[in-house]
């Protein structure tokens, strides 16, 4: 699907139940038009990875995901030879008395295609969405390599040759900022910081994602989470936590928040003991009263 305006993209995303801000829609639209990678940063749980999934659905194409971790190397990101099969092949030939042909042994049949190679190969037909998730977890060595791949979208395998594509895949890179990603890489990309949503937007997200949640509950939960984000907590709850909590409370047949249930289910929202201690009890009650007065 081709998009001809930002509005079109934004409303298409909405149809797929992703409520995108105007700024994010603009960045995505430009990334598609200019064929540049989009670098998404933001706190955990604000929907960075989701953007790539929605985009793949909208473009009606595959999503290829590369989860980064420290020590990620070419063999896990690009390609690897299937050694066990190769060895088996050698044995089989041996048994039938033939000699091993090296060119055959290192042919496409024995090649394991990892995400980056897959993405480039598939791009020849139909560019997929390539999600490079949590880039900050990888190390500098991989970052340098990625910079190279992102600049000309070609990969050289010594035994086979160079594989390239005229149409680059749509690249989404996400980072949680546990490490500064190198400037050179960022400069190649469009940049967008996904912030926590406003009350209205978050409520909209809850209601689109979980349409069966009672309205009053959704409003109270959203209000409560928004209040928590004003607090001095070690880890603020993201949108993912809002949705988790709503799901949990719906499962418990709650139609509104009350102090007891808040204390009991706080673990769905706050993931550090210090934070739970701080909020539980009196503080939770205080927020709850304020929220109820405000949103009902």
């Amino acid at each position: 699907m081709e998009f001809t305006s930002i509005d079109e993209l934004q409303s298409a995303m909405r149809e797929k139940r992703y409520i995108a801000e105007r700024g994010l829609a603009t960045s995505l639209y430009l990334a598609l038009k200019l064929r540049r990678p989009l670098f998404l940063e933001g706190e955990a749980g604000v929907g960075k990875t989701e953007v790539a999934k929605i985009l793949a659905a909208l473009l009606d194409t595959d999503l290829i995901r590369l989860q980064c971790y420290e020590g990620l190397d070419v063999h896990h990101a690009v390609y690897e030879w299937n050694y066990t099969r190769q060895m088996m092949h050698i044995r089989l030939l041996e048994a039938s008395g033939e000699k091993t042909d090296e060119a055959e042994l290192f042919g496409p049949e024995f090649l394991l295609r990892r995400p980056l190679l897959q993405a480039i190969e598939q791009s020849k037909e139909k560019p997929p969405v390539l999600l490079i998730d949590e880039l900050d977890r990888s190390d500098e060595e991989f970052e340098a390599f990625l910079l190279e791949v992102l600049s000309d979208f070609q990969i050289t395998i010594p035994e086979i040759g160079t594989i390239k594509t005229p149409n680059p895949p749509v690249v989404i890179i996400t980072s949680n900022r546990t490490r500064e990603v190198h400037d050179a890489l960022k400069r190649r990309c469009l940049y967008y910081w996904i912030d926590y949503p406003s009350f209205e937007k978050e409520l909209e997200i809850v209601q689109t994602q979980l349409p069966h949640a009672p309205v009053q509950l959704a409003r109270q939960i959203t209000g409560f989470i928004q209040a928590l984000r004003e607090m001095d907590l070690y880890k603020l709850p993201g949108v993912a936590e809002t949705l988790d909590w709503t799901t949990a409370l719906v499962a418990l047949d709650q139609s509104a928040l009350d102090p007891v249930i808040v204390d009991e289910t706080l673990g769905a929202v706050l993931k550090y003991q210090d934070d739970v201690e701080k909020v539980k009890g009196a503080q939770a009650r205080l927020i709850l009263d304020r929220v109820k007065a405000g949103v009902d």
Binding site: G23, L34, F39, T100, T178, D183, D232
Partner: protein
């Protein structure tokens, strides 16, 4: 240029779209978003002649995102305020002070706080010769070697030479990398006599080490000084640090500052087994409970927590201040940092970290400095 081609894609008359398009292309860092907003407002509102603003956050001469290396000053002789004239005369004295072995020895053990201007210049030079190397950790990246991981790729390649018969297995071992270092220095009033030399020391360490060195200073609040310290010219770097830090020689709130560090920076700079150095005398005017809590959290998040205290150099010093008492149970090492010899000790210790165990729950109390 990117922006121009982007403008073909959007309706230029719509302010919001133009704003987001320009922002996504021009800004690459969250911290710069506010600055961009201001620039954009200005661009949109006023004709160019009236652009006359005090940019927020650009007190450090507009080198936000890129660690450009500023060229060292061309001529030391050009009238560069007080610096140049005094520098040349100081260099002369320096030679004089460090002339003999015994002079150098005397300097090595002299407390930083008691040094004359000439002596501290000499020590700065000697500091530059300290060898810094932080111990290494095993990364998850493997390379061919003698480790316990089989290297199938090489094994197979090799076996082809013998018609597919595996005669010898090849192995891989983890690659080693030096640990990242984080320095958090106290620049409050009580530390004033040490501050300048310690900044020199941090700068020296940062330029000598290949791995990331993050530097922070605090008195009542925490300031990150990693960026300004990246410039090659030390005087300019220190000047920029000075401009950035609003609270030189103020009161001390260690607890609050560490909390800021833990909340805002911890996750970003403590990854990958960092070694943390806190330089402070422990005179704390803040909340002791908070300090305890934040020290405990910091310790859980780093590989090694080392507290450097200049007062520990004094023979009759006992760590009895509230701050120190609160912090001490949580540090791995409690070391003096009052003279050059203590810095040398520190350098040795950093190189050696791996060979020592990661420490129990109590601070290792070093013997009194020699």
């Amino acid at each position: 240029m990117d922006l121009v081609s982007a403008l073909d894609q959007i309706e230029i008359g719509r302010k919001a779209d133009f704003y987001f398009a320009a922002r996504t292309l021009l800004v690459h860092e969250r911290e710069h978003l506010a600055l961009f907003d201001k620039a954009f407002e200005l661009f949109w509102r006023k004709p160019a002649e009236e652009w006359n603003v005090d940019w927020p956050g650009t007190a450090q001469p507009r080198r936000g995102s890129r660690p450009i290396v500023t060229p060292p000053p061309l001529e030391r002789s050009t009238p560069q305020a007080e610096d140049s004239t005094s520098a040349s005369s100081q260099e002369l004295t320096v030679i004089e002070v460090t002339r003999t072995y015994s002079d150098r020895e005397r300097l090595r053990h002299k407390d930083f706080a008691e040094m004359s201007a000439e002596e501290s210049e000499a020590v700065k030079q000697m500091m530059a010769h300290l060898l810094w190397k932080v111990s290494e950790r095993r990364t998850r990246r493997k390379r061919p070697g003698k480790g316990q991981w089989i290297d199938l790729r090489r094994t197979l390649r090799r076996s082809l030479r013998s018609e597919g018969e595996i005669l010898r297995w090849s192995y891989r071992e983890p690659k080693l990398k030096p640990r990242p270092l984080v320095v958090i220095a106290d620049i409050s009033g009580s530390m004033e006599r040490y501050t300048r030399l310690l900044l020199h020391f941090i700068y020296g360490m940062k330029s000598a080490l290949d791995q990331p060195v993050e530097a922070f200073v605090f008195s009542t609040r925490l300031t990150r000084i990693t960026r300004p310290l990246q410039i090659r010219d030390l005087d300019l770097a220190l000047k920029n640090v000075g401009r950035l830090v609003g609270d030189w020689a103020g009161g001390t709130r260690i607890g609050e500052s560490l909390k800021t560090f833990n909340f805002e920076w911890g996750r970003r700079v403590l990854a990958r087994g960092a070694v943390v150095l806190i330089i402070s005398d422990g005179w704390d005017r803040g909340d002791v409970e908070l300090l305890k809590r934040e020290m405990a959290r910091l310790r859980r998040n780093c590989h090694r927590l080392i507290w450097l205290n200049p007062l520990l150099g004094a023979p009759d010093y006992e760590p009895l201040t509230r701050g120190i008492l609160a912090a001490l149970p949580h540090v791995h090492d409690f070391l003096p940092v009052h003279n050059l010899a203590s810095l040398e000790d520190l350098a040795d210790r950093l190189t050696d970290l791996n060979r020592r165990s990661n420490g129990g729950n109590h601070a290792r109390y070093p013997g009194r400095p020699r």
